[in-house]
């Protein structure tokens, strides 16, 4: 080995003169020792032997705490970081219960199929190590028909995912009698993934699960596991509909890790434009890879992943140096299962050196440990940040996580407040199991599974939905029960993952080929794969020949282009109801239903690398319309904020409102566990409905997923962050890092930043106290 290798790779990275000026913050998280606890007294001998054979002689303290709480009959949620031995938290009590009672069964749920495969391997290791009489069976969309019956009849532990439970298992519960009758534990791993739309659906799937289990006389307990979020017990309680105890003290040891915050240099200080975080991350990743550091690069979108992976591979193509053996693969949703497996295997066996991934690799898919993680842009929340950072150095040894900020307000806010990453300020996860669309869908599914007794309890108001369904003829009320009375199979049409079940299939038709490349939900398809759009799949570029919404297919053809496409989306709104008035007289906040109509009528063609706009195209697609939950912030003249607006000229007022709206939307994800894309916002100089200036923020999922409600109670901290961000931003008059760029007309006033800041401060004054005590 060469002497150089003795230098800590982290030091080498930090002392690189090209990088050093841009490093905003470094925290070396020291190694931490384990906190141990003894194995439980009444542990089965076979189980003890199985643990022994794997070298487990004692437990981490949190594993023991989980055992004790489960033993006391509680529903629990264990919150621990990556690689802290969380699987034993559930495997141990479940295995013990299954050994104690030969009729007992358990259900393991993972958010993705890939995860359940890893789990079965893990379980088999534990079970076979001690020759335990426990059979674990995977039951998901990939399980062949021929082995499904065996899984149903003899699987003591059934490993599945919520989608399969929803569409395959619950509607066919009569084939699972023994399983449901014996169901003792439901294990829910990666609970933090069950938030927003998906979580709201899953909460209802759990209602159905418990209902069916009760029909067969079982009352299972839940063991949930989650990455770090602000409100694990609250989310768990909302998901399963009863109180849950949180176990949060992690007893596992930690390997040392350096966390680096990197802020790309300003290229245009006036406009506040920094060098692109994607390009900078790619250079950092390239540097790391070239120095032999196995690296994962996290990008925010599927498109970015594809672009970055192809750039990286091009970079390493040079045949005149050694780097041409370095292989980098893109990893994202929408790949076919075998493509994903191939990449996972390559990462584990080392034949792939680097990977560019969306958050698809955030979850516990086993890819072994990498040396460095580069995170291009704030991943949206602390749980994701730490899971992505945890991809580097899962097992032991020093590793490094580099966060590369983009120009966006949240990213810059995080650069300014790195302490948020290390404190306890994790965002709160929200769901709304009573979203009327989602709830109604699951009442339907539940009615299909078992007739509803008239007074039966199920969520907030099953009677409301059932009488509605009865009128429609979907259920029939006879002898005090609602019977499913339709020829359809409702679960089939309801997707837990997206607003609509009708996915568009993307088909490659190049040279007479007819191959399915992937799928996309309908609303996304309208904004991403419209006619003439450029679609990128595993680094290959395709042009969309025809998006056929009616037949749910999108025909594409492989074609090299020097640009990519981005739809310009227009939005109209209409107030449907005012359900709750919050805030204060000076700044009323109205929570209610909103009709949002969005349409993409044209798209931009942007040149690769430079992002230069090289032309426009037309999109001919019908608009998407939805009803959702929203808050409206009103600025009546009686309040200080309102009168400040009234005193401004029209242009200035518009500039201030747009700035306020921009920063509010951009920074909401600092407090809410959601993506910027999960909320929409707009402003009105004089609102049609309220007749005063107004700013609207809405949930972009039909019917809402609790975000509007959550924001109404988090407005003060969001506005505080906004005020800090605008004040700290050194741009001239608004930039993408604070209030955003605006069109020329608004920019001409030259008062966007000051107007926006003034409005934020006045709004804070108006809300301070009222909003906090009001909720």
């Amino acid at each position: 080995m060469i002497e150089e290798d003795a230098i800590d790779p982290v030091d080498r990275f930090l002392s690189d003169p090209e990088l050093a000026p841009n490093i905003a913050f470094v925290r070396r998280v020291p190694a931490a020792p384990a906190s141990w606890a003894e194995l439980p007294e009444r542990l089965d001998d076979g189980l003890r032997a199985a643990l022994d054979s794997r070298g487990v002689e004692r437990l981490y303290s949190h594993q023991r705490a989980a055992w004790d709480a489960v033993g006391a009959g509680m529903d629990i949620v264990v919150v621990t970081p990556t690689a802290s031995g969380k699987t034993l938290c559930y495997n141990l009590p479940v295995a013990q219960a299954l050994i104690d009672d030969p009729e007992a069964r358990a259900l393991y749920l993972f958010p993705t199929k890939a995860l359940s495969q890893d789990q079965q391997a893990e379980l088999n290791a534990l079970v076979l190590g001690g020759d335990l009489p426990i059979k674990a069976a995977t039951y998901d969309g990939d399980t062949p028909q021929s082995t499904r019956k065996a899984a149903r009849d003899s699987g003591r532990i059934v490993i599945s995912n919520p989608d399969m439970l929803h569409s395959g298992i619950l509607p066919n519960h009569a084939k699972w009698i023994r399983f449901f009758a014996g169901l003792r534990y439901i294990v829910v791993d990666e609970m933090h993934a069950y938030r927003g739309v998906f979580g709201s659906h899953v909460a209802n799937v759990f209602r159905r699960l418990l209902r069916v289990a009760a029909y067969y006389g079982a009352s299972p307990r839940f063991i949930l596991c989650s990455a770090t979020i602000g409100n694990p017990a609250e989310l768990a309680t909302a998901l399963i509909g009863r109180p849950v105890v949180a176990i949060t003290d992690n007893g596992a040891p930690r390997a040392p890790k350096a966390v680096v915050f990197y802020n790309p240099p300003l290229v245009d200080p006036v406009q506040g434009i920094r060098r692109s975080s994607a390009d900078e991350s790619m250079s950092l990743a390239a540097k790391l890879l070239a120095s032999g550091t196995r690296t994962i690069l996290f990008a925010r979108s599927r498109l970015r992943v594809e672009i970055l992976a192809s750039y990286l591979n091009k970079r390493f193509e040079n045949v005149y140096n050694d780097n041409n053996r370095i292989r980098v693969e893109p990893y994202r949703s929408g790949l076919l299962p075998n493509e994903r497996r191939q990449i996972e295997r390559g990462l584990r066996d080392g034949s792939i050196h680097g990977v560019v991934s969306t958050n698809a690799l955030e979850l516990g898919i086993d890819i072994g440990g990498l040396d460095a993680a580069v995170i291009a842009g704030w991943p949206g929340n602390l749980a994701s940040f730490w899971q992505q950072a945890g991809r580097a150095g899962r097992r032991s040894g020093a590793s490094m996580a580099v966060y590369v900020a983009s120009s966006s307000p949240v990213d810059q806010y995080m650069i300014e407040h790195p302490e948020r990453c290390f404190g306890s300020a994790a965002e709160n996860a929200r769901i709304d199991p009573d979203n009327p669309y989602i709830y109604a869908d699951h009442v339907k599914c539940a009615a299909f599974e078992l007739p509803f007794a008239k007074e039966e309890r199920f969520g907030s108001d099953p009677g409301a939905v059932l009488s509605f369904l009865e009128e429609e003829g979907t259920v029939r009320l006879a002898a005090g029960r609602y019977y499913w009375s339709d020829s359809g199979y409702p679960a089939e049409k309801i997707s837990l993952r997206s607003a609509t079940a009708d996915n568009v299939v993307i088909i490659d038709t190049t040279a007479g080929r007819n191959e399915v490349l992937g799928e996309m939900d309908r609303p996304s398809a309208k904004e991403l794969v419209f006619d003439d759009a450029v679609y990128i799949h595993r680094g290959r570029q395709f042009i969309v020949l025809k998006l056929d919404i009616e037949n749910r297919q999108c025909l594409v053809e492989e074609r090299e282009t020097n640009y990519y496409t981005d739809a310009v989306v227009k939005t109209d709104i209409k107030v449907l109801s005012e359900d709750e008035r919050l805030g204060s007289a000076a700044l009323p906040i109205v929570l209610g239903d909103l009709l949002v109509r969005s349409s993409a009528e044209k798209f931009k063609k942007l040149r690769f690398h430079t992002n230069e706009n090289i032309g426009y195209g037309e999109i001919y697609l019908p608009p998407e319309e939805m009803q959702t939950r929203a808050i409206a912030l009103l600025f009546p003249e009686g309040g200080a904020a309102g009168s400040a607006l009234a005193a401004m000229g029209d242009g200035e007022r518009a500039a201030a409102l747009s700035a306020f709206c921009g920063i509010l939307r951009a920074l909401s994800p600092v407090e809410l566990l959601c993506d910027k894309g999960d909320i929409g916002a707009t402003w009105r100089l004089r609102d049609d409905h309220y007749a005063v200036p107004a700013v609207y923020v809405w949930d972009r999922y039909p019917g809402g997923t609790g975000l509007a409600e959550a924001l109404s109670s988090s407005l003060v901290p969001v506005l505080e962050a906004a005020s800090g961000r605008i004040a700290a931003c050194d741009c001239d008059d608004g930039c993408p890092s604070c209030v955003g760029l605006a069109d020329d007309a608004l920019q001409a006033t030259g008062r966007r930043k000051s107007g926006g800041l003034a409005l934020v401060r006045l709004a804070l004054e108006a809300l301070d106290g009222s909003s906090r005590s009001g909720r």
């Binding site: 009569a174 109604a440 078992l450 108001d461 509605f468 499913w484 339709d486 359809g488 109801s577 239903d593």
Partner: protein
């Protein structure tokens, strides 16, 4: 939850403004306000109807029926009079706990050779336990059950319904699914193997005013909401005819397998397979005739038959008759090399097999071709 769920649901419904399912319009002309004739109430919410058909398409009630003809897994014979033909009409085709059978028909031969068809109908969902119990009684009296597609639809559904009404698992039934045998005979010649299609083609049955199966659930839902109609009577007739056709078809297939009857458009290879289960000599004649008529597909079953009956010497001479698919070409290449001693022809065939074949077969063909090529140059 914020907001009022009922109000929000109502708003969503308005916005959706989807055309509601059309409520059936009562046309005085073809409307029957009363329940179709001939039905009697035999329990709370359960109705019963029996019809008897005299039909020369039926086997004599004491005839011995070979069950193996319907399924290679079954063996032995049963008296025709102990067969129970059955068929369900349901609220949907997708299965699952919310799919319900509301009408069941059973057919069996009476001592005088006529076919008795018994139908059970439930008036509404709460009466399902009575219907399922009545079905259980019918099954208990049967020696064997014959269905059309019952192994993947009707019987699993029956098992689920028993669970749902609390009757517990169904006792084991001797079950022959006539669809499987029918597929062997007509898969290649018919657009589909639905009972409706085969009864028309093979039995000459013409249904008049039949209701398509896909409309059956709607008729039941409409009955629940607005009462009996002409369409309900048509569903009953449809269900009854299904049993008559099923019985006639099953006996026809049985007779054809025994060589006692000719059926139109039948695939000889499929027929030989059914025959081989009861009469190897007849199966051999069927295959030989097919081969003589130029059907290369008959070659492999005939080879298998010779192997089964220990006539291995007769297998090799059949090789030249194999179809020119990759496996056939491979065998012919072996034959050319070893029997005909024609290495050039053997190589040609091996190369063809490699070109057309896939997977392991292509690899074997490639190795064979390579070996033959090497040998060729060595000998030159």
């Amino acid at each position: 939850m914020a907001g009022n769920l009922r109000a929000r649901l109502a708003r969503i419904r308005e916005a959706a403004a989807e055309p509601q399912r059309p409520v059936p319009i009562h046309q005085a002309s073809d409307d029957i306000a009363t329940f179709p004739e001939g039905w009697e109430t035999i329990g709370h919410g359960l109705r019963f109807h029996e019809s008897v058909r005299r039909n020369d398409a039926m086997a004599p009630p004491h005839a011995a029926i070979d069950l193996a003809i319907f399924s290679a897994r079954l063996s032995g014979t049963i008296e025709a009079g102990n067969l129970l033909f059955f068929d369900l009409e349901t609220t949907g085709l997708s299965g699952g706990a919310g799919t319900v059978a509301f009408l069941a028909a059973f057919g069996s031969l009476r001592a005088d050779g006529s076919l008795s068809i018994r139908q059970y109908f439930m008036d509404d969902y709460p009466f399902e336990p009575a219907l399922i119990a009545a079905m259980g009684d019918e099954f208990a009296r049967a020696g064997a059950v014959v269905s059309y597609n019952g192994s993947s639809f009707d019987l699993p559904l029956y098992a689920v319904r028993r669970t749902m009404v609390g009757l517990g698992p169904a006792p084991d039934l001797l079950h022959a699914d006539a669809l499987h045998a029918a597929r062997r005979l007509w898969r290649r010649s018919m657009p589909d193997c639905s009972l409706a299609c085969l009864e028309a083609a093979a039995l000459g049955v013409r249904r008049v005013g039949d209701i398509p199966g896909s409309e059956v659930p709607t008729v039941w839902f409409d009955f629940l909401r607005v009462g009996p109609s002409d369409r309900l009577a048509r569903v009953f007739a449809h269900n009854e005819q299904d049993i008559a056709s099923l019985a006639a078809l099953a006996f026809a297939v049985h007779d054809a397998a025994h060589g006692r009857r000719e059926l139109p458009s039948v695939d000889a290879v499929g027929l030989a397979e059914l025959r081989s289960r009861v009469d190897e000599a007849l199966a051999e004649r069927t295959l030989t005739a097919a081969l003589e008529a130029g059907d290369a597909r008959a070659t492999r079953p005939l080879m298998r038959l010779y192997r089964r009956t220990g006539r291995c010497g007769e297998i090799a001479p059949l090789v030249p008759f194999l179809p020119d698919d990759p496996a056939g070409l491979f065998s012919k290449s072996v034959y050319a090399e070893r029997r005909l001693r024609d290495r050039r022809e053997a190589l040609r065939l091996a190369e063809l097999a490699e070109e057309l074949g896939r997977g392991a077969l292509r690899d074997r063909a490639a190795r064979r071709a390579a070996r033959l090529r090497a040998g060729q140059t060595a000998f030159r």
